[in-house]
């Protein structure tokens, strides 16, 4: 199969879902967003504690991330809800979303004279968009349109030995056979493997950029006065047998395969259209990292997990794969694909890659993942500095 059935957008992108997003620009609009999304079936609430009292680099990062969700290929239209005149401007965000040809509306709680009027406006707008979205039909589209997001979660020693190998096979199949894109992240989890990783860069500039970003993370972490070893590996990683951050990193990098790296991009920035593998500079914090990759426009996310994890995303369907034979039993709702037979049974890693690929084909054509079916999703924008 080189085609899938997707939703065409005016900006040339093709979605695998047809969501209406209701996006909050500040914590004081979160309740209105959540209430509206509770009322309108099919609307996805995007809430967060940021968007005001932030320094410029954080404002840019928050704005870029929210815009990434409003203009995501899987999003049909967006209602932006703002509180008052905030540093992340609701009208500006809605206008930037509208530039991609998507339906877009902006609601301001102060301008509406309170939350009840704002809620009514948000509900009316989201309802109309959901109805319009439901009239859209899936059409055949080339798989080269697709971007594959990769993250790991609750890693253990099976991660680098098994499921990451399956993930690497599937992502490179999308890139090499279909001309798609891949994106992995979690820069602090390159520690100990950064030299080999940087050698995969397509040119010296990208190589130096990878090393510089890893060094920046090391400095940022050390500037807190604490040791990264106090935070990584995490307690669940250690339970799973991972001893040091280097061991976690070397295993984590297995999921990116060994092909060339096109570029390393900022947190939440749009993943380039050209085919190939990209890195997004994110923390190892799963919810923050996955939120960034979603903002970059990845169509779906593969979470390669050792011991199982609830980590998922509302806009980007999230497929969980494990190679730990106990995980499918312990957390069946967090196991879309179990490839442990490649680790402790008679199957091969090529078989494992095929199992994942088959699941991806189903999901991009419309089959919901376990986390989608259960309404599981997390959203957390990474912040750079303190609030002001």
């Amino acid at each position: 199969m080189s085609e899938f059935l997707g939703y065409e957008r005016d900006d040339g992108s093709v979605g695998i879902r047809n969501h209406v997003a209701i996006i909050s620009t500040a914590p004081y609009a979160n309740d209105t967003v959540k209430r509206a999304a509770d009322i309108i079936d099919g609307a996805v609430p995007i809430t967060h504690p940021l968007g005001r009292c932030q320094t410029k680099p954080d404002v840019f990062q928050t704005y870029r991330t929210l815009l990434g969700y409003g203009t995501h290929p899987n999003v049909y239209g967006t209602v932006v809800v703002a509180h008052a005149g905030e540093i992340v401007d609701g009208d500006e965000l809605a206008a930037d979303v509208a530039e991609t040809g998507r339906p877009s509306d902006s609601v301001n709680i102060h301008a509406e004279k309170g939350v009840m009027n704002a809620l009514k406006r948000t509900v009316d707008s989201a309802r109309d968009m959901v109805q319009e979205a439901s009239a859209q039909r899936r059409v055949p589209a080339d798989m080269s349109n697709l971007t594959f997001g990769i993250n790991c979660a609750t890693s253990d020693t099976t991660s680098g030995l098994c499921q990451h190998k399956a993930t690497a096979r599937a992502v490179w199949r999308l890139i090499d056979e279909h001309g798609g894109r891949g994106c992995f992240a979690e820069t602090p989890e390159f520690f100990g493997g950064e030299n080999e990783l940087s050698e995969r860069a397509v040119n010296d500039e990208v190589r130096d950029e990878i090393l510089e970003r890893v060094d920046n993370w090391d400095k940022r972490l050390q500037a807190t006065g604490y040791d990264v070893r106090g935070a990584q590996p995490t307690p669940d990683n250690m339970d799973g047998g991972l001893t040091t951050i280097e061991e976690k990193s070397l295993g984590a990098l297995v999921k990116s395969g060994d092909g060339p790296i096109q570029d390393i991009i900022d947190y939440g920035a749009k993943i380039p259209d050209d085919s190939g593998m990209y890195i997004m500079d994110t923390p190892g914090h799963g919810a923050e990292s996955v939120t960034g990759i979603g903002a970059g426009g990845a169509h779906f996310m593969v979470i390669s997990t050792g011991q199982g994890h609830t980590l998922s995303n509302a806009i980007m369907p999230t497929i969980k794969i494990t190679g730990n034979p106990g995980s499918a039993e312990r957390v069946p709702e967090q196991t879309d694909v179990d490839v442990s037979e490649a680790l402790v049974g008679d199957e091969t890693f090529d078989w494992a890659g095929d199992q994942l690929w088959d699941e991806i084909e189903k999901v991009v054509n419309g089959q919901v993942t376990l986390s989608e079916a259960m309404g599981e999703s997390q959203f957390a924008i990474h912040r750079i500095g303190p609030s002001t």
Binding site: G160, Q222, D227
Partner: protein
């Protein structure tokens, strides 16, 4: 026949990952590259954790994936559980920042 549930990633590794529970006192055969080694397990080891496949002296590098994953903080005889209690990372020495020991940061 080497035990397939004890996986050594690269021939230069000095640890194996247990893909089953190991019991103290059992004798296991581990494939390290083309070589087979017979080792007595020194203590119970749970799924996913590591054992030493050779005697490792205090301060020596622990090698997995053919690369350093840290240093031994004590002598680790073959068959011993290798984890946070006897291995130290070489990374992120923020705890030592400002201390003369910062100079010991290695690659």
């Amino acid at each position: 026949m080497p035990d397939r549930y004890l996986q050594v990633v690269e021939p230069s590794d000095n640890v194996a990952t247990a893909l089953r529970e190991l019991e103290a006192g059992e004798t296991v055969t581990v494939a390290v590259g083309d070589e087979e080694r017979t080792i007595e397990v020194q203590e119970d080891v749970i799924f996913g954790h590591k054992i030493a496949v050779e005697d490792i002296a205090s301060g020596e590098t622990i090698t997995k994936y053919g690369k350093s994953i840290g240093n031994a903080t004590e002598d680790i005889p073959a068959g011993t559980w290798v984890h946070v209690q006897n291995v130290e990372s070489n990374y992120g020495r923020g705890d030592l920042a400002g201390d003369e020991q910062t100079a010991t940061v290695s690659e």
